[in-house]
Amino acid sequence: MKAAKFDYVLAESIEQAVAALAAGNGDAIIIAGGQSLMPMLAMRLATPATVVDINNIAQLSGIEAIGGEVVIKACTRQATALASPLVQMRLPLLAKAISHVGHQQTRNRGTVGGSLSHADPASEIPLAALAMDARVSLRSVAGTREVALADFFLGPMMTARADNEILLKVHFPEEPDGPDGSRMGTAFHEVSERHGDFAVVAAAAQIQLDANGRCIKAALALGGVNGVPRRIPALEARLRGTRIDPDAVRAVLPEIADAITPGDDQHASAAYRRRVAGVLAERALLEAVAEAAP
């Protein structure tokens, strides 16, 4: 468990980082918190020619509210995001998700952008961000582009980010309670054998109800059931415009079955993941509705 030889670049600016990535010709990798990459390097599962350290780039840290969005810069620590009043008040689903990420010690190092870039199919931040219709900004020497999370995850540990791009920030649309009395409710449920493990299955729900308790918007995302975190659009569509009660939730749960393709491993069978996806989805939807209820 000793890393193979690599060149180390300590980038002091975003420009330096993208230049190093460009120079790496596809064989450079970014390190931020290192909570996944360091073990991968040590086990030689990753053997990049160059490691570009972005921890010193001040412009990559911080959380701010801009024009109806909360923007979290990529190198913001998970612990910082979790403690942020802005996140707690305006992005409650993200806060709930981060509380399940690893342990306090790993959250002190791990970053929001790193978790999205790493794209473990069972990790919590990608799941919440997907449910929240977030977007990411990516930058290379060629310029900056934005990608919706719905288009970002391509497979296990694979994203739309090109090798020469750095993830700059994540844009979360704010979903404030409306003056018309509409309210948002969120819930994040996961099951793992132990506290702090990657989820075996996870469910994130975000539900907006109008003043009369009718569903305006519904989002349900499931993790651990595919190579990528999955939204369940058919289920969401059936909830919109309805009053959501336990019977209604149970009625739409069968929509999950066709949207997921879980696999078997030593920790759970595909059948387990299917059944538990339904269980956690039901719990998350009902809890989100209860939170949103007028």
């Binding site: 000793k2 506290h195 075996v200 030593q266 759970a268 538990v276 269980v279 956690l280």
Partner: protein, 807 residues
């Protein structure tokens, strides 16, 4: 974790007024571990040390057609690449516990690999980084073969053999019959059968194995520092390397970062010793976690029990028929003996009249099994407790009541069990009641029933288990009558220096059990000196007295006995010097804190300083014939041991039997199958507690270990023999989040066989917790009519049982 009140193992029951034993005193080792000043193998630095890395086989079973090391050897900074063939040419096979001449175990695979992760080559380089770079350059040509993975298949298999020369995969197959089993079954009202499975788990210490060797060409001594906990280590090293025993000096003053059986390190140490001598450079191998879990000494018992139980309609258990099939993996080492130790407590704490025991050890294409905490007793205890619960369920009787009807009564000790052990002492009913009181059992029942009424799955576990302590390898003779070995000693030396300061020298390494505190406490007690002022050192193997190392819950009993014996000799010597100089018969003299005075005239006395001066400086004042100096050695044999089995294979194996009652409370999420251990009470009796904090740490740590074995930990293989649990992402150990607040209480039934009434305590929590958690989970599943008899009880298995009927 809350401290519970209770009898802190008070040896007052021994009728002695104790000053240090059984008192709550600081554990002397804690300071160096807390302040980071412990010294582990990795902290030993020698100039010009080279670093080794090993190449694991990707195949569970494959012919090695060729190994090309040229590119690796050409890499800058590489000193040597050693293959299995080269190694085997220069060493003997590592000696196994059983005599299995065609099961040849070499440090590196020769011609064939027998498990995924087996070491095929080793590289020595300037740094561990370069050594790993070189591994990637070694070209091995394999011919993969079908492996044998399932132990039942391995048992029946005639073609697919792990060691073809051995002629079968069966390493051991023994039949034991104690008492009239057929008669008891025929006379019993009822019987039942079940299969229970103990998963392949272990202890997984935080420090992996490490060894550093240096060949001193001048003295022709091989110096070795190794994180071992193992009897016969140096003998095994010498016989494998073909060196005289007195050419090897094992430095035992390194701290060992956890073990509970698994720090064997023999193949690792053979390799570094060989390479250090060959290269004339110090060579170090520190296993990383991947290497340790896949190819080191990491895996414990992996056992299938098929048990028949005969009982009366009142729930009195009369007889057991047990078939135990254990998967030893590719190289058995001492693994088969883990089927034999449980013979010492084969009926648990119960009055079971007769037992039939069939023990089978098979080889498979998995990592070789090593000893783990309890040496096979934890799986057996689990099976026995599942039998008691099954009888209660079958008869619809309360599990507690069934236990009360079967527990050996306190007035029956010493109690002889069918397999020949005399249980030394015990008060099982009282300890169980203490546990129930601590758990507030009536409230716990209400809590469970309320949870059930609210639709939750809730259960209470009950386990009453034994911990044999003291050690004795007479079980080897049960398995191999040519192994006529009855000695299982432990020794120490005590020196009093010219200043009167006391130093105790023990002969082994220590891996966190607090032996230094134990040793100093007993010496302090016996010699009436503050234990904090007594120095404890670990002799190297050339200067150490005989030891069988800290295995088998034995050091409190054995090092305690040796220390008491040596202290007695010191006092005798002091008394002889005083008697001579005070011109009084020893019978008139009395020893108090080192000063010896005349009972009838206390002004006539000799102080400790005066005695020490005479011993070292005043030969003319020594009794005639007494050697100068002031030291004593004592070699202590296992109490009650030393006999071979009788014609019916009955034998006393372990001398002392500690007892525990576990009462956990769990709830299960029916949607996910996840078990939460919400409460845990344990009542524990290991006789006299020498240091309360050490025993409490053992109990609670062992209990956490047992929760891991019950719910999470498994070295898993797929059907093709690929190893799936090489890191802590897949081998799941419980953390503090999974362990509840434990309430614990001690009870003291002194052993009549030991120096201060002490018994073993290092294994106890672990020997009962898996059974207790299994009992609780099955109690929670009981309203659904379900049972699960397979450890670990992972959440996906429980969920499938509940929601899919498959398990």
């Amino acid at each position: 974790m809350t401290a519970a009140t209770g009898d802190a193992g008070n040896a007052g029951a021994m009728g002695r007024n104790l000053h240090y034993v059984a008192q709550k005193r600081r554990v002397r080792e804690d300071r160096r571990f807390v302040t980071g000043t412990g010294k582990f193998v990795q902290d030993v630095t020698l100039p010009d040390t080279r670093h080794a890395a090993v190449l694991p086989s990707p195949y569970p079973r494959a012919r090695i057609l060729s190994v090309d090391t040229a590119a690796a050897e050409a890499l800058d900074g590489v000193h040597m690449v050693l293959t299995g063939q080269q190694m085997a040419a220069d060493c003997n096979p590592i000696r196994l516990g059983l005599k299995l001449p065609e099961v040849k175990w070499y440090p590196l695979a020769v011609d064939m690999t027998r498990y995924a992760g087996e070491w095929v080559a080793i590289v020595v380089a300037d740094t561990a980084y370069i050594a790993e770079d070189a591994l990637a350059l070694i070209q091995v040509e394999y011919e993969p073969l079908a492996p044998v993975i399932d132990p039942e298949q391995a048992f029946a298999e005639t073609d697919l053999l792990v060691h073809p020369g051995h002629g079968s995969n069966v390493l051991y197959h023994g039949h034991f019959l104690w008492g009239d089993v057929d008669g008891d079954f025929a006379a019993a009202d009822d019987s039942l059968s079940f299969r229970a499975r103990w998963g392949r788990s272990s202890t997984v210490p935080i420090e992996t194995f490490g060894a550093l060797a240096r060949w001193d060409a001048g003295t022709e001594i091989l110096d070795i520092w190794a994180s071992i906990q193992m009897p016969n280590f140096v003998e095994l090293l010498a016989s494998t390397l073909g060196y005289p025993l007195n050419n090897i000096r094992l430095h035992q003053d390194v701290d060992v970062g956890g073990s509970y059986g698994v720090k064997r390190g023999i193949k690792q140490s053979v390799l570094v010793a060989y390479l250090a001598r060959k290269l004339r450079m110090p060579v170090r191998l520190i296993e990383d976690r991947l290497v340790n879990m896949a190819g080191g000494d990491a895996h414990g018992p992996d056992r299938i029990f098929d048990t028949d139980v005969a009982f009366t309609n009142d729930g009195i258990i009369k007889s057991l028929k047990i078939r135990a099939l254990d998967d030893a993996g590719a190289y058995p080492g001492r693994a088969p003996f883990q089927l034999a130790k449980p013979i010492s407590a084969i009926v648990g704490p119960y009055t079971i009249n007769s037992v039939k025991y069939e023990a089978i050890s098979v080889a498979t294409n998995k990592t070789g099994q090593v000893p783990v905490r309890g040496f096979g007793q934890a799986p057996t205890n689990y099976m026995i407790e599942m039998a008691v619960d099954a009888v209660a369920r079958h008869l619809d009787l309360d599990r507690l009541e069934v236990r009360r009807r079967n527990l050996i009564p306190s007035d029956a000790f010493p109690y002889r069990i069918p397999s020949g052990s005399d249980y030394d002492s015990g008060d099982y009913h009282t300890v169980l009641q203490k546990g129930l009181d601590l758990a507030r059992y009536d409230e716990l029942l209400q809590r469970r029933d309320k949870a059930r009424a609210e639709g939750r799955l809730a259960g209470i576990g009950i386990a009453t288990c034994l911990e044999p302590g003291g050690g004795n390898n007479i079980f080897e003779y049960l398995m191999d009558p040519t192994a006529e070995i009855t000695t299982f000693m432990e020794a120490c030396e005590v020196k009093v220096d010219p200043q009167g300061r006391i130093t105790g020298m023990m002969g082994t390494t220590t891996s966190g059990q607090g032996h230094e505190t134990l040793f100093a406490t007993i010496l302090g007690e016996e010699l009436e000196f503050d234990p904090d002022e007594i120095r404890i050192v670990h002799a190297d193997s050339l200067s150490a007295l005989p030891t069988r190392s800290p295995v088998a819950s034995r050091m409190a009993i054995m090092l305690g006995g040796a220390a008491t014996g040596a202290a007695g000799k010191i006092k005798d010597r002091a008394m002889a010097i005083a008697a001579f100089n005070l011109d009084r018969p020893a019978a008139d003299l009395e020893y108090s804190g080192g000063t010896i005075s005349d009972r009838n005239d206390p002004s006539r006395k000799l102080t400790w300083a005066e005695i020490c001066f005479i011993a070292y400086r005043a030969y003319h004042k020594l009794p005639p014939g007494m050697e100068p100096g002031f030291h004593a050695q004592f070699v202590f044999q296992v109490p009650g041991g030393g006999q071979l089995p009788d014609a019916r294979n009955r034998v006393q194996i372990y001398p002392c039997f500690s007892f525990q009652a576990h009462i956990p409370y769990v709830e299960i999420d029916p949607g996910t199958g996840k078990v939460s251990v919400l409460d845990y009470a344990i009542a524990h009796d290991c006789g006299t507690v020498i240091n309360p904090d050490i025993v409490r740490g053992m109990v609670i740590g062992g209990l956490a270990h047992g929760i891991g074995a019950a719910l999470y930990e498994k070295f898993a293989y797929d059907g093709e023999g690929q190893f799936l649990s090489a890191s802590f992402a897949d081998y799941l150990m419980p953390s503090v989040h999974e362990i509840p607040d434990v309430k614990d209480v001690e009870h003291c039934t002194p052993s009549p066989l030991t120096s201060h009434g002490q018994k073993g305590s290092g294994e106890g929590g672990y020997l009962g917790a898996p059974a207790a958690i299994a009992s609780a989970v099955n109690d929670a599943l009981h309203p659904l009519g379900l049972t699960i008899l397979e450890l670990p009880m992972r959440m996906h298995k429980i969920e499938a049982l509940i929601n899919d009927g498959s398990g």
